[in-house]
């Protein structure tokens, strides 16, 4: 069933602003019947504001039609590597929207918010157990903000050691997410890139050479973005500490190891987690997420404000750590997301979380085996939660790019995997099935990818033009960037 106008009409050409009719409205507003207070001086007020004028039904149809032009994990398999697109349990949404939780005011006295705070306290304890890092702040709104918190904590610790002036570098592997170097730069550090060795782990000789008294920290993703274990990371942690630097864990890939090994036990000093990945909170098309930061006792005084602590009366309080890097948001973080993560943790328990990581890793390996031989596999060994193939053979032999093959997957009913990341793999095709896909779905995905590899040889033009069945065909991204049209205007910009 396709909503009317989804493919026939040029649906995107008409925004809500171009629909409806002057004078229509979608909701009414009570009329004030008391004594009227004069409005402030006219120069402080606006004349009007341009907004759509639509009836309620029209507005509902417009956004319903838009939703039909979207694909979510509820629509089908979404094997976007590094993003851990697992099924989002609906009970979590129900819990976050309980009125007693949802209506809590952030400035409430803590006595009036103990239900929320007690729940967050238990989440905080669970995350400390899972990461092996005993101190936690739930404040960061997303992974990148958690990273910023972690790196600023390192800054503060070095300041207190009197070494901040000399330690100006952060080492980041060449396989890292872009947020790692961007965060290090935001915190005022220069970035040194570390090469990946042939086995897919960090090149030990380079690390040993680079580690000196100018290094503040090393940011490592474990498992790394190739889906591989970082061999010898616990020894590297020792080297880093011997050199006086801190080891930071990008927890984006926690789904592979939950309940099986812990950042703290491996020697990491600080880690951020992405609860919108491994803890199943929905991604919402780009947030809200949550990026708690977990650390050792040594770094605890620097955690972002607030942290949670129970006082002598058994009340959970919001407090500022002694040498806190400060606040990251006006209030306490994305609490609605944190409540969902708590519900997920409680629905699974330790055995369930171990079953998650076990099945996530088995699913990735199953896919690896099913696709073996059909695509190049630059690091041809068992993987953890995701597997990174390369489309370089198809590019070389048939002039078909990974981009084309990813787009063709849309015609088979799948969301494409992550492509062209990590940067160190040519024509990368990074696939993360997650534990919530049944084996049939993984087999169907593999069959589609095999059919596409065959099509690359037999009918490359079909791939070059894909997708063919989506609500819209390939878009001119170059034009979008060169001649930016970024907002509605009454005079419709000529798009020729």
């Amino acid at each position: 069933m396709t909503a009317p106008g989804l493919r026939s009409e040029d649906f995107g050409a008409r925004l809500s602003f171009d629909r409806g009719e002057t004078g229509r409205r979608a909701v009414d507003v009570p009329v004030w019947s008391g004594d009227a207070t004069p409005l402030p001086d006219a120069h402080l007020l606006r004349d009007s504001v341009r907004l759509p004028e639509m009836s309620q039904g029209e507005l509902v149809r417009y956004y319903t039609a838009l939703s039909a032009r979207n694909y979510g994990i509820d629509s089908g398999t979404y094997p976007l590597g590094s993003c851990t697109m697992k099924y989002n349990p609906k009970v979590n949404d129900l819990i976050a929207s309980l009125p007693d939780f949802a209506d809590a005011h952030p400035q409430s006295p803590v006595e009036e918010a103990q239900g929320t705070l007690r729940t967050l306290m238990e989440l905080r304890q669970g995350l400390a157990e899972i990461t092996g890092l005993p101190e936690v702040s739930l404040a960061p709104a997303a992974g990148a903000q958690g990273e910023l918190a972690g790196v600023l904590m390192i800054t503060r610790a070095l300041e207190d050691r009197g070494e901040l002036e000399q330690r100006r570098r952060i080492l980041v592997p060449d396989s890292a997410h872009g947020t790692n170097p961007a965060t290090a730069a935001m915190a005022g550090f220069t970035v040194t890139h570390l090469p990946t060795a042939e086995d897919g782990s960090l090149d030990r000789a380079t690390i040993e050479r680079e580690l000196d008294e100018t290094v503040a920290g090393v940011m490592v993703t474990v498992p790394n973005t190739l889906g591989l274990w970082e061999n010898g990371i616990e020894e590297v942690a020792g080297l880093i500490h011997d050199a006086g630097a801190y080891l930071y864990a990008d927890g984006a890939n926690l789904n592979a190891i939950m309940g099986r090994i812990r950042y703290g036990d491996l020697g990491f000093d600080v880690a951020h987690l992405n609860l919108h990945k491994n803890f199943s909170t929905p991604h919402g098309g780009g947030g809200p997420g949550a990026g708690p930061v977990c650390c050792t006792e040594e770094l605890a005084p620097y955690l972002p404000t607030p942290v949670l602590a129970e006082d002598d009366d058994g009340l959970v309080q919001l407090i500022a750590p002694e040498r806190s890097i400060g606040r990251l948001q006006q209030f306490h973080g994305n609490v609605g997301v944190l409540l969902r993560a708590y519900a997920y943790m409680r629905a699974l328990g330790l055995d369930g979380l171990r079953a998650v990581s076990g099945q996530a890793v088995l699913n990735a390996n199953y896919l690896r085996v099913l696709l073996h031989g059909h695509y190049d596999l630059p690091y041809d060994r068992p993987v953890l939660h995701e597997v990174v193939f390369s489309g370089s053979r198809q590019r070389r032999e048939h002039d078909v790019r990974t981009y084309d093959m990813a787009k063709r997957l849309i015609d088979h009913g799948f969301h494409p995997p992550t492509v062209y990341f990590p940067l160190i793999v040519e024509e990368a095709l990074m696939i993360e099935p997650t534990e919530t896909e049944p084996p049939e779905a993984i087999e169907a995905l593999a069959e589609a990818l095999i059919a596409i590899a065959e099509e690359a040889a037999s009918d490359p033009d079909t791939l070059h033009g894909a997708p063919w069945t989506a609500p819209i065909r390939r878009l001119d991204e170059t034009k979008a960037a060169r001649r930016p049209v970024l907002r509605w205007d009454e005079v419709d910009p000529k798009l020729d």
Binding site: R46, Q56, I73, I95, D103, A141, P181, G285, R473, D476
Partner: protein, 455 residues
């Protein structure tokens, strides 16, 4: 108390024992543990203490019970200070809970993400209209982090190393600006008058309405900032902009704001929504994701048809996943779903509904303030025209007044008695909006009357 039959899969994990056996065989290992052979053996499978798993009914029961230990939503509360209860059109939460929106990732594949992208473009358009700016992104974490990013943008543009925050500004906003400034090595000056802006400042940051609720005349402040070569950053409440002059029309170069309250419930502060809009000259210095309008490379029907309009993430050369350490910000996942709810709520109110709601809020707040000011022993000191928050001084110290109200089942206004502004001395800041029930205001008046009588 819990749980499922041994060997039966968890509802979130579909593979059965039989599936697993078949898959393991195909992979060529005997058990799951073998897949983790690369992990150091001496650190594997540590003791981890987690509470036992719960079934869905148990989980709901536990959290309902837990939630009930929060103050009930029916308790009269006059807190504002950065978070405001609003009347939000019901269709906003309804449409926002459509799972095609909820369960999508960042729209990396525009062909199957037009829902997220086109509504992102709608959001940018709404934010530009409200703020009077040329360009908006799809949203940042919250108003405070958005304001910090605005300061960083101003620093990049002006090459100056300090920023000025005009008091009264939300203390949370000031603190977040300081957090971000520390990383960048910037100085943050809190100033009482715009005269303190100097040629060392990259920007002047002004909150509208200010932290104590007063409506600010932005134009003269923008002129001072511009005279000294600084950018003007307005931190504006988008709901108040339903009636107040758009900051862009008053000379602001960047406008930030908090969108949460127009998108949904306060949720103890988050999910929040940082609005970020700027003038055209700063387009390529913006943080965060931006949606642009374009068209198909080839039309439908095998390229025969006219190319159709579509939306993509654009100007990505600013962003971390391309520019890495030279990116304008590290931001990636932000608050897209909250932005969607904000967009639908504002569009549902429409041009007249937004103005009517803002004026209703204004009228109800002023009416409540007038009633309180008429009570013996109470005073409502004004600092100028104001929107929805007002200062109340009673016959007893502010902190004691809050306690006495709490004893009567009312959450008082935010305590501002330790602030420097003379009007805030010994005052609580009450907030009344269009969504505050009449009965709550009546209850408050009764309580204040009896507290006044006792004093």
């Amino acid at each position: 108390m819990s749980s499922s039959l041994a060997g039966s899969p968890h509802p979130y994990i579909p593979a059965t024992e039989a599936d697993r056996a078949r898959m393991l065989e195909r992979v060529g290992v005997t058990d799951l543990d073998a897949l983790f052979a690369d992990l150091p053996a001496d650190l594997r499978d540590p003791a981890i203490e987690l509470p036992p798993a719960l079934t869905e009914p148990e989980l709901i029961a536990l959290l309902q019970e837990r939630a009930a230990t929060n103050a009930a939503p029916t308790r009269p509360s006059f807190l504002g200070a950065g978070a405001y209860r609003r009347s939000i059109p019901a269709i906003a939460s309804h449409l926002t809970s459509r799972s095609e929106f909820v369960t999508a990732y960042t729209p990396y594949q525009p062909e199957i993400s037009q829902g997220t992208l086109q509504s992102g473009f709608e959001f940018q358009s709404v934010v530009c209209e409200l703020t009077g700016m040329d360009v908006a992104n799809v949203g940042l974490y919250d108003v405070a982090s958005a304001t910090a990013e605005a300061c960083l943008l101003a620093v990049r543009v002006t090459k100056r190393r300090a920023v000025a925050l005009l008091e009264p500004i939300h203390p949370g906003t000031a603190e977040v600006v300081s957090t971000y400034a520390r990383g960048a090595g910037l100085r943050v000056d809190s100033i009482a008058t715009a005269d303190a802006v100097s040629d060392e400042h990259a920007c002047l940051v002004v909150q509208q309405p200010d932290f104590l609720g007063t409506i600010v005349d932005l134009e003269p402040l923008a002129n001072v900032a511009h005279d000294r070569g600084a950018l003007m950053v307005a931190v504006a409440d988008p709901f108040a902009l339903g009636m107040l002059k758009a900051p862009g029309d008053a000379g602001a170069d960047i406008v930030t704001g908090e969108g949460r309250d127009l998108a949904g419930a306060p949720a103890f502060g988050g999910p929040s929504l940082g609005l970020f809009a700027a003038g055209l000259p700063y387009m390529r210095q913006m943080p965060g994701r931006i949606v642009g309008r374009t068209n198909e490379l080839h039309g439908p029907e095998g390229g025969e048809g006219e190319p159709r309009t579509g939306y993509v993430l654009t100007l990505q050369a600013r962003e971390q996943f391309i520019r890495r350490e030279r990116a304008t910000s590290n931001v990636s996942t932000a608050q897209a779903l909250i932005a969607l709810s904000f967009t639908i709520a504002v569009q549902a109110l429409g041009p007249r509904g937004l103005r009517e709601s803002a004026e209703l809020c204004y009228q109800r707040a002023h009416d409540a303030a007038r009633r309180i000011a008429s009570l013996p022993g109470f005073d409502v000191p004004e600092r100028g025209p104001w929107f929805q928050e007002f200062l109340v001084r009673g016959p007893i110290p502010a902190s004691e007044l809050a306690v006495r109200l709490s004893e009567r089942g009312i959450t008082a206004g935010f305590d501002v008695s330790d602030r420097a502004e003379p009007e805030a001395h010994n005052a609580l800041m009450f907030c009344v909006t269009e969504a505050t029930p009449d009965a709550h205001v009546d209850t408050l008046i009764e309580a204040l009357t009896s507290i006044g009588d006792e004093a």
